[in-house]
């Protein structure tokens, strides 16, 4: 953690809300991306984002600098996301979108690819991700979509590195099998 971030945390702990908002600006793109990946729709993702940072604000005085702040925020975000899912039970698979020409969330879009195949593939990926257990999906998202290190994932999820590797292998194997059926693997 660099000195500027550390100073911001100390100021936020002392009640300086502007410093808190600066911390938000540093990490919130990653957190919003993560919540979108878990929730798969922007309404739920935003609710989780809001709830996460309100919790960060309420608990920042308890942060003891024993870990990196981003792993601490990630942990809050993941717990919030799954509690939210449990409470609302409405986190849903992304349905193929109607062609409106623009996408407000800037989903990766390749105009060269065949639109039908693309939608089918998105459905297949989402279905495959939903077949994974909660832990397998989380570990997969953190490793391959958020590009975190295994050590950090273990820290965020409070698991041993061995357990993280086990979940990761199971997730990758299931995805390989699922996507092979669609001839994309």
């Amino acid at each position: 953690m660099d000195k500027t971030t550390r100073d911001l945390i100390i100021k936020a702990q002392a009640g300086d809300t502007e410093s808190f908002h600066e911390i938000v600006t540093i990490y919130d793109t990653r957190i919003m991306t993560l919540t979108l990946q878990i929730a798969q729709n922007k309404e739920d993702a935003e609710d989780i984002y809001q709830e996460t940072f309100v919790k960060v604000y309420k608990n920042i005085s308890k942060f003891r600098f024993e870990s990196d702040i981003y792993t601490w925020i990630y942990r809050i975000a993941i717990n919030t996301a799954y509690n939210y899912k449990r409470k609302h039970s409405k986190i849903k698979v992304v349905e193929p979108k109607e062609d409106n020409g623009y996408d407000l969330l800037d989903w990766v879009y390749d105009p060269q690819s065949n639109e039908d195949n693309r939608e089918e593939l998105i459905m297949a990926i989402n279905q495959s991700l939903l077949k994974l257990s909660h832990q397998q999906r989380t570990v997969f998202i953190l490793k391959h979509l958020q590009q975190l290190k295994i050590k950090d994932i273990a820290n965020i999820l409070d698991l041993s590195e061995g357990t993280v590797k086990k979940y990761l292998f199971r997730a990758m194997e299931k995805l390989r099998v699922s996507l092979k059926e669609y001839h994309y693997a």
Binding site: G15, Q50, I125
Partner: protein, 330 residues
Amino acid sequence: MPNKISEQQKKQAALYICNALSITAKRKIEQELKTNSELQNYVNELKSAIETTRSFSTIAPSEEFLQGSRNLLRGKIQILGTKKNSVSVLSNIIDKIKSSVILLAKKQQPVWAVATYIIIGLIVGRLLLSPGGDKPIDISGQEYVDMNKLIQSGVLSDLQIDQSTLSPSSIKLVSHTDNRFNVSGNINDKNIRKILYYLLLNDDNIDNRFQAGKQIKRITPDSVSRMVLISSVLSETDQRVRLQSMETLSRYQSSPDLINACKRILLDDHNFTMRLESLNILGKNMSSDLIPLLEVVRKMDDNPSVRDKANELLVELQKPVSIENNEVTQ
């Protein structure tokens, strides 16, 4: 004949892709990969599955979506900050009272003495929590007013704007439960502003929020009032109050925060008047990066007036620049 691969080899291959093997294990699997075609296929399939999933699941939130969320969060934190301060001071007072009561109870005082202590405690508490003596308090013009103390005293919870004494530049705020508290002063006084901001964002009574918003309309715009109004349009539940804040904002100079708030309202607000008003504000700050958003609104908004307005702005944006206007006078 293709080589068979064991479960252990599969695990090692997965960890190899994740770059999570020790140097020795990595060398070993790389050696095996040179000769084992089945293992090679397995690794390729894993890599492909990951790449495909990654390329279709990497969602980057747009800057305007993120900015809207930040504004909403700002409003929530502001409210929380106020409550947090009030609660912490109050809980300190309660803790002190608790410890005093425990102390008294331990000494086994007679009932009449305990009752007297409680009455004295209540009077002292009342004095501590009241903002001042018996004379009316005028906080306008004071260098610093502790808003937290005012909030804790409770006077802000039933504060109202005295309509009978309103003039173009002054205002009077009266408390119904504490008649000693009646603040009067210039509408642009910073303390009066602070109270109005508090009322607009925190008062439980809708009419009070509406009245506070009405007065904020009269003050000289600055960056703080803009932020307060943006918080109001993004977090207010009452349509009347929200609309009033939006109308006030339409008189403000453009800023990135305001533009982002308008974009957010245009996409998310259920009230079509709010969406129309946000289009009016955006219309004063036209730039080509609005085109995708306007296209979406033109095609997808539920309300025909909003669609028409979006279309009108789009036409204006896409109008070719007149050559005559660009000609340099000879």
